[in-house]
């Protein structure tokens, strides 16, 4: 029997271990982004806009020209980069606290303007970097360090469904939600990242992919349990699929 490597290491991915916790999906998300960048022959013309969260060191793993944006402001920073250099490929990589709380205005307006940038949005339903506080995407009933009794719908509201919201905006060319809990979903995630990138490359508009990801440490679970939680708890509330696709595919 021959072994087939499903996800070979792309050149643009640094050859070093990450600082991510065991079972965290950031590393896998980085790798998929790296693969898509290479398949589309983009690394040499790419400017990555990093965000503030566990992925703040993205430049240690993706060997790209990178700028660090203040917490939540990556879509505004990306707007500036793209307006300055429309010939470059520009993407942001953001967590759910970053994008859906402090940076809600920036992401909405960036998408609505139809900025020719792409956004990779890692939704792990929690603030990872700061130690597991409630995020705007925390599920009702989910316990975090700032909703120790579980998120209460009447007190904290329901989690934002960003892919649907972004998909409803006129400037968006592509918006989808995927997950990283199994091989099939990982492959779909890669496809969605590619379409979100192509929305920019083909000058169709704003490209957005929300990736349901695990955070075993702050969920207080084993990596396996965390994967199961994605399927059992997250996907039922955050349905997978495309919410906008004007690429004709």
């Amino acid at each position: 029997m021959t072994e087939k490597i499903m996800f070979p290491k792309p050149q643009v991915l640094a050859n070093r271990p990450t600082h991510y916790c065991p079972g965290c999906h950031h590393g896998l998300a980085h790798k998929l982004v790296a693969q898509v960048l290479e398949e589309l022959k983009l690394p040499e013309k790419t400017i990555c806009v990093g965000s503030i969260g566990c992925s703040v060191f993205i430049y240690n793993y993706l060997l790209l020209d990178t700028i660090e944006a203040p917490h939540g402001r990556a879509p505004a920073v990306a707007t500036g980069v793209k307006r300055a250099r429309p010939d470059k490929f520009v993407f942001t990589y953001q967590g759910d606290g970053d994008l859906a709380a402090i940076g809600l205005a920036e992401i909405m307006h960036c998408a609505n303007r139809g900025e020719r940038v792409s956004v990779v949005f890692v939704n792990n339903t929690i603030y990872g970097m700061t130690g597991g506080q409630m995020a705007p995407t925390t599920l009702v009933g989910q316990k975090t360090t700032t909703c120790p009794g579980g998120r209460c719908k009447d007190r904290e509201g329901e989690p934002f469904k960003m892919a649907e919201i972004i998909g409803s905006l006129g400037g968006t060319a592509y918006a989808a939600r995927t997950a990283l809990n199994d091989i099939k979903n990982i492959q779909k995630t890669k496809k969605a990242i590619k379409l979100a990138f192509r929305a920019q490359l083909e000058d169709k508009g704003f490209g957005f992919v929300e990736i349901l990801s695990s955070c075993p440490t702050n969920w207080k679970m084993t990596p396996l349990q965390a994967n199961e939680r994605i399927a059992k708890e997250m996907i039922p509330y955050f349905p997978l699929g495309e919410f906008k696709n004007t690429l004709g595919e």
């Binding site: 040499e44 203040p70 505004a76 920073v77 500036g80 307006r83 300055a84 205005a105 303007r113």
Partner: protein, 351 residues
């Protein structure tokens, strides 16, 4: 070089200066009294192949500026006091990341929503950093419409020379006042950011523009590097001395107040009073040494500001232990005239 004269507002002069300096992107959000700048830019910048974006907030506008200058192009944002407060996060990141953003503040009254009239209430915010962290901006305080044009061009040059954000600190008087100017076209360096800007890592290792320094000792080293840069900026100090040589009292005032005081000085001179004007043009770095020279000569000082006393602290630091400075603060809500300053100046002179 065009020798044509134009009759424009200070706001327009800043926009014209930015275009002449090769500004390629402008990001802003409406606020009085600086709306002429985004309005002018929305009209004129696209004609020059540049990009104008009306941002969703000043927070976003300043972060767009951060992104645009990281790509090595000349870019600008402008606002007035409440909006400048919102820009501080990005300004701090630009200082930490060593990025050459140009920020215009047409200062209005505060705190809070204050009023929409002129004020110099943002002097501390502009010259002492403004946002979080240990950093400084280069701050230029134009006093006339021509100077607004000239200093805007200079702001872009300095921003790229020092890889540091530069603030132009005007006020509602300067922004709205119309004066004749002679525009000129500076030489704009073409590849001034080639060595550090982001454009895709082609044939070279990737570049990272950031302000995070977590490794042991790394931030201290970075802070020291910045401090050295701020020390070097002293070369750029600019000020105007007017009839200071034989004066017994030096009035220190900047921006439009400096210019109004100049008229008062002229009147008082005609009446035989030995008074002169010292007008700082770079507010950071502050012309402390030049002031100290005057203090050593035994002159008296009076600082006049359109606030309750901010620059006066820098003046006091500069002139002590050789002198003390008196202070006169013009309150917000009305436009000062040269007459308003006669009495306080004579009082200080006779003290």
């Amino acid at each position: 070089m065009s020798k044509k004269r134009l009759f424009v507002k200070g706001n327009e002069a800043i926009a014209l200066g930015a275009l002449a300096a090769g500004c390629k992107c402008y990001f802003g959000y409406p606020i009085t009294p600086q709306n002429d700048i985004p309005e002018f830019m929305s009209r004129e910048l696209p004609k020059k192949g540049g990009a104008f974006v009306q941002a969703e907030s000043e927070v976003a506008a300043a972060n767009m500026l951060l992104g645009a200058v990281s790509a090595g192009i000349r870019a600008m944002t402008s606002s007035s006091s409440p909006g400048i407060s919102l820009k501080q996060e990005a300004i701090s990141y630009m200082a930490g990341s060593e990025l050459p953003g140009v920020i215009v503040n047409m200062n209005r009254g505060g705190p809070g929503l204050g009023d929409i009239g002129p004020s110099q209430g943002d002097y501390f915010q502009a010259t002492k950093g403004g946002g979080h962290g240990d950093y400084r901006l280069l701050v230029l305080g134009p006093g006339t419409v021509q100077e607004a044009y000239d200093l805007t061009i200079k702001a872009f040059d300095l921003a790229f020379k020092y890889k540091n954000p530069v603030m132009i600190l005007g006020d509602a008087i300067l922004g709205q006042m119309k004066e004749p100017i002679t525009p000129w076209e500076p030489e704009v360096p073409e590849k001034e950011a080639k060595e550090w800007c982001l454009e895709g890592a082609k044939g070279r290792p990737p570049r990272v523009i950031k302000s995070l320094y977590l490794e042991d000792g790394a931030l201290a080293k970075h802070n020291l590097k910045l401090a050295q840069k701020y020390a070097e900026m002293k070369k750029e100090i600019l000020f105007e001395e007017f009839l200071t040589q034989d004066a017994s009292l030096i009035v220190v005032a900047y921006g439009s107040i400096g210019r109004i005081v100049k008229s008062t000085i002229r009147t008082l001179r005609k009446q035989g009073h030995k008074v002169g004007l010292f007008r700082p043009i770079t507010l950071y770095p502050f012309p402390s040494e030049a002031l100290q020279v005057l203090a050593k000569e035994g002159k008296k000082f009076l600082t006049i500001e359109h606030n309750l006393g901010q620059m006066v602290e820098d003046v006091q630091l500069a002139v002590c232990p050789y002198a003390q400075t008196d202070f006169h603060g013009h309150l917000p809500g009305n436009l000062p005239t040269p007459n308003d300053f006669e009495e306080p100046i004579i009082k200080a002179l006779e003290k």
